[in-house]
């Protein structure tokens, strides 16, 4: 799905520090021995992005979003029935990456059975079961975005539970 709605990226922030992993210090060769320090964190630091307000959502009509940055498209859906891991007062709001974790093709939402489907190789993922791959070729289930809903009903994405297709760090690093 092509994104048709801007997200609030004003508070987007990227990984601080920039060196990956506990070993780190790959660039420390110019420093005297013994001064290398690991500057990266054990996990990537996700931004907290406002995606929408609950009032913006219509049941079973996916909204295009981006998380954690503009190159990682996803959808935000109010399913209409509570699901495990669903956010919001009704426990029915979920968000997923729409890049197929098999080969990165853009998934399309089928509102009939609430699945995301790949036109390339026919994998499909169940939006009501945490993005479980109902059938397909991907070797992980669909990355789901962790959501937080604040007192104003604003929905924020704050994390991802699988590696997003096309990046070896969910938050891109320079």
């Amino acid at each position: 799905m092509k994104c048709n709605r801007m997200v609030d990226s004003g508070r987007r922030q990227f990984l601080r520090g920039g060196i990956v992993g506990a070993a780190g210090a790959a660039a420390a060769t110019v420093l005297p021995a013994g001064q290398a320090k690991a500057q990266g964190l054990a996990r990537v630091d996700y931004p907290s992005n406002r995606l929408a307000n609950i009032a913006d959502l219509v049941v079973n009509e996916p909204m295009d979003i981006e998380f954690p940055d503009a190159d990682s498209p996803g959808i935000l859906i109010k399913l209409g029935e509570a699901v495990e891991g669903g956010a919001g007062p009704d426990g029915d709001i979920v968000a997923y990456s729409v890049l197929c974790p098999h080969k990165g093709w853009m998934l399309s939402y089928n509102s009939g059975d609430k699945t995301l489907n790949c036109p390339g190789h026919h994998s499909r993922f169940d939006c009501e079961a945490g993005g479980q791959q109902t059938w397909g070729h991907a070797t992980n289930n669909l990355p789901q975005f962790a959501l937080r809903v604040d007192d104003q009903g604003d929905i924020h994405a704050e994390g991802v539970d699988e590696l997003i297709y096309g990046r070896l760090s969910n938050v891109l690093e320079s």
Binding site: K103, H122, E128, H137
Partner: protein
């Protein structure tokens, strides 16, 4: 809630990482992968100069990129004694898969044993012997001495017929040319063991005797024929689910290029659905025949083709036998073979007759014949590639049914030509190189019944698990366990005795009806529960391994990690067993017999390759195969020119057929006479039960379920074996999705979880085959054909609820598996 790995980044492959060739070892297609490994304290960077891909990895990579890998493609393994990072990812330059990974192969790295990440801790590390009431780890010397002492006693006091051997014959995994040669030399050269069987069936036989007897080897095409053809004719196969990347990378381009597709299968498979998406429903014909009636369908198609003159007259005249009967039907040949005219006397079947038998319309059968053979408007011949697999191989009347299908390909000249071929699709890769097995005989011994009858004294098992992959499995398990328990009890009673006293106790138990069991495997299998000695093997990439895929493409899949613990390649285990046999026999004073076990001074798997495959194919060496990379060479290799091995794109391109060994090089037609249910007991069972219990495959763990029983991604999806059912049938039985059910008939009982499928016909269920958590073979009767080919596909039973869905089964997705836009 779906299983998630919570991986938010992966180590980047550094630019100087070691790169090696890998052929996926799980299925017949043999997709090319690359293994990258590098020291644990190093990592690549996002700058193009810092990573293997030369790409800026600080940017999002897009669709079909080579510069990405998933968490399942990563692990930490031992290489030359040191822990290293490992990434195994699809190879974009391999012509087989062009960078596509399957849900199986793209988990190869994750399914490696690792003491660092904790994956596959079920892998065996050390030999074990039954001692003091449990399996005790021990040294190779100790375990092998016990194996040789008992085996040598038995074959000298009795005969080699008392040694029963179950051994893989395939490529990939722990098979391959090295390992089939090692085991083959031991049992068919040093000994002449005839009571042996193959990993998935109860005898040592071909699954496709008839096509071979007709002169047509079963793997005769090139995968590119699917893109060059007018029609894909698929029978009893579901390639979208199984040979996934053959389907996606070769069949789909064919369909998108205008090819039509005919699918014969009682079940509406994912292949039918996806093909309709790719080709348009008007170009896909699904013949949902009654189970087991394929032969009548093929005979009607052949009759229609012949009667309308859509045959290739020149091909028939030049390449097929012309003079009536060539081979008469007898106990080793379940149908006569000869000329087309000869075969037609038996095969002739009208469209209406077939429609009655098969339960599909005569118009659809006619349409299939037209799509397969009717010449184009300009008079040119239609090209058709035919592929088949377990639906008829494990189906009714194997010999004649496959023969009837090959008849159509021969009559239309669709063998050895571009866009043609008549091939089985396959399961594992192939990798068979053994001394002549003629002493086994034809029909071969029905080994599982031989054991059930109380015969045999020692059972050597190599990477076979009858518990999951045999028919009449319930009875087999009962008897095998009882007989092996007799030996366990004898060992326990002899506790504290010397080796000689323990061997005496074992032989005493054998003479009383017991069975001494040696199990060589990579994990502690279910049949391994009955073993007295367990020997740990390694598999592909823990050793170098050569195999060929479904278009005879041979590759060297390179060793990138150490065997786990003290495990070893099967070929070297066989060599060690032979050396121990030689020593023990010499100690027994039988020098002549001991001398038969010479010739195993192999230190590496390459030594076994040179002793076997290379001796018969002197052009082919490890170095040359390594140079040929993941595209390898298509067998047979016919030369070495300009630094490259020269192969053979497709067999029989010259119109000469030799698989039957006939001097005239003429292909034979099969007099495939329809006779209803061929195997004993099928008709009665069908009449007595409500449900036909089809057995089927699932792409997620096809060919590697033994590893995936310890893979959480897979167990989360299918915590129990699925049994696909018609939703109305489920309502009738008061079943909800995920409820645990059992299937019952006179042969036994098995279990699984109810899985509603709207396209399932009422009264038909489809149970996944080979599951560790529910063996479909428990309910399959012992019926086989004249050549001991099992009819796994046809069994009937009743269904009973065991319990409501568990927390695990209730949580999985039960939505349609078919893509929907």
């Amino acid at each position: 809630m779906a299983y998630k790995r919570h991986t938010d980044r992966l180590p980047i492959i550094p630019a100087d990482a070691k790169e090696q060739n890998v052929t996926c070892h799980y299925c017949i297609v043999g997709c090319g992968y690359k293994a990258y490994s590098w020291p644990l304290n190093k990592q690549g960077g996002t700058a193009p100069s810092e990573n293997k891909f030369g790409e800026d990895l600080s940017q999002q990579q897009f669709q079909d990129t080579d510069a990405w890998y998933s968490a399942s493609m990563y692990n930490i393994v031992k290489q030359d004694g040191k822990d290293v990072h490992l990434v195994v990812k699809p190879d974009v330059d391999c012509v087989v898969n062009s960078g596509l990974g399957s849900i199986r192969g793209a988990r190869m790295a994750e399914n490696r044993p690792s003491k660092v990440t904790g994956t596959q801790q079920q892998r065996l590390t050390d030999p074990m012997v039954w001692r003091n009431g449990v399996w005790q780890p021990t040294s190779w010397d100790d375990a092998m001495d016990l194996v040789a002492q008992v085996t040598a006693r038995v074959v000298t006091e009795g005969s080699e017929d008392d040694l029963v051997v179950s051994m893989f014959d395939h490529g990939g995994s722990a098979g391959g040319y090295e390992n089939t040669w090692g085991t083959g030399k031991l049992y068919f050269d040093s000994m002449k063991v005839k009571n042996c069987r193959i990993h998935n069936r109860p005898a040592y036989n071909s699954e496709v005797h008839s096509t071979r007897d007709m002169g047509v080897g079963e793997l005769n095409y090139a995968y590119e024929d699917y893109t060059l053809t007018d029609t894909i004719f698929m029978v009893g196969a579901n390639s979208m689910e199984t040979q996934t990347n053959l389907y996606l990378n070769h069949m789909v381009p064919g369909l998108q290029g205008g090819a039509k597709m005919v699918v014969v299968d009682p079940r509406r498979t994912l292949t039918v659905h996806s093909s309709e998406q790719f080709a348009g429903a008007e170009n896909v014909l699904h013949l949902a025949i009654n189970e087991g009636t394929d032969m009548a369908l093929f005979n009607a198609i052949l009759t229609h083709v012949v009667d309308h003159g859509w045959v290739d007259a020149d091909f028939i005249a030049n390449s097929t036998f012309q003079d009536g009967e060539a081979v008469a039907q007898d106990s080793a040949v379940p149908a006569g073979l000869g000329s087309l005219d000869y075969a037609m006397q038996t095969c002739r079947t009208s469209l209406d007759e077939a429609a009655d038998i098969c339960g599909v319309s005569s118009a659809d059968i006619q349409k299939a014949a037209e799509w397969i053979a009717e010449p184009h408007d300009d008079g040119s011949r239609r090209k058709c590639v035919t592929c088949y697999e377990k639906g008829i191989i494990w189906g009714n009347d194997n010999y004649r049914t496959i023969g009837a299908l090959v008849n159509i390909a021969l009559a239309t000249g669709n063998v050895g030509r571009e866009g043609g071929g008549i091939c089985r699709l396959g399961g594992h890769q192939e990798g068979y190189y053994r001394p002549n097995e003629g002493h086994v005989g034809r029909p071969a011994e029905y080994v599982d019944q031989f054991l059930i009858r109380g015969l045999g004294a020692v059972h050597h098992i190599w990477a076979c698990d009858h518990y999951k992959t045999t028919l009449n499995a319930a009875e087999f398990k009962r008897v095998h366990k009882r007989r092996s328990d007799m030996v366990k009890d004898a060992i326990d009673a002899a506790a504290g005795g010397t080796r000689e006293q323990v061997v005496d106790a074992i032989v005493g138990a054998i003479n009383a009806g017991g069975l001494f069991v040696v199990d060589v495997d990579i994990i502690h299998s279910q049949i391994g529960q009955n073993a007295h000695v367990i020997l740990p093997a390694c598999e592909s990439n823990e050793m170098n391994l050569t195999s060929m895929n479904g278009e005879r493409r041979m590759r060297l899949s390179e060793k990138y990690m150490d065997p786990y613990g003290n495990s070893k390649p099967d070929c070297l285990i066989a060599a060690e067993m032979a050396q121990n046999m030689e020593r023990v026999l010499r100690d027994m004073g039988d020098d002549a017999y001991a001398d038969q076990f010479k010739g195993y001074d192999w230190e590496t798997e390459e030594d076994a390759f040179m002793d076997g495959y290379n001796a018969g194919n002197p052009e082919v060496t490890y170095d040359r195969l390594r140079d040929m990379g993941n595209n390898g060479v298509q067998e047979p290799v016919v030369g070495f020119e300009n630094g490259e091995l020269v192969g053979t794109k497709r067999l029989y391109a010259d119109g000469s057929f030799d698989r039957h060994g006939r001097d005239d090089k003429k292909a034979l037609f099969c007099a495939a006479g329809w006779r209803g249910w061929q195997a004993a007991g099928k008709a009665r069972e069908q009449a007595a039960h409500k449900f036909w219990i089809n057995n089927v495959r699932a792409n997620i763990f096809w060919q590697n379920q033994f590893l995936d029983q310890k893979n959480e991604f897979v167990q989360d999806r299918f915590p129990y074996p699925f049994i696909e059912m018609n939703p109305d049938d489920m309502v009738d039985l008061d079943l909800n999705p995920g409820d645990l059910i059992e299937i019952i008939n006179d042969n036994g009982v098995t279990q699984g979880m109810a899985y509603p499928v709207s396209t399932a016909k009422p009264g038909q269920v489809a149970m996944v085959f080979g599951s560790p958590a529910g063996s479909q073979g428990n309910v399959v009767n012992p019926g086989v054909n004249e050549l001991v080919l099992p009819d796994y596909k046809h069994c009937w039973g009743d269904i009973r609820k065991i319990s409501n869905a568990t927390a695990e089964t209730a949580a999985i997705s039960f939505k349609a598996k078919e893509v929907q836009f």
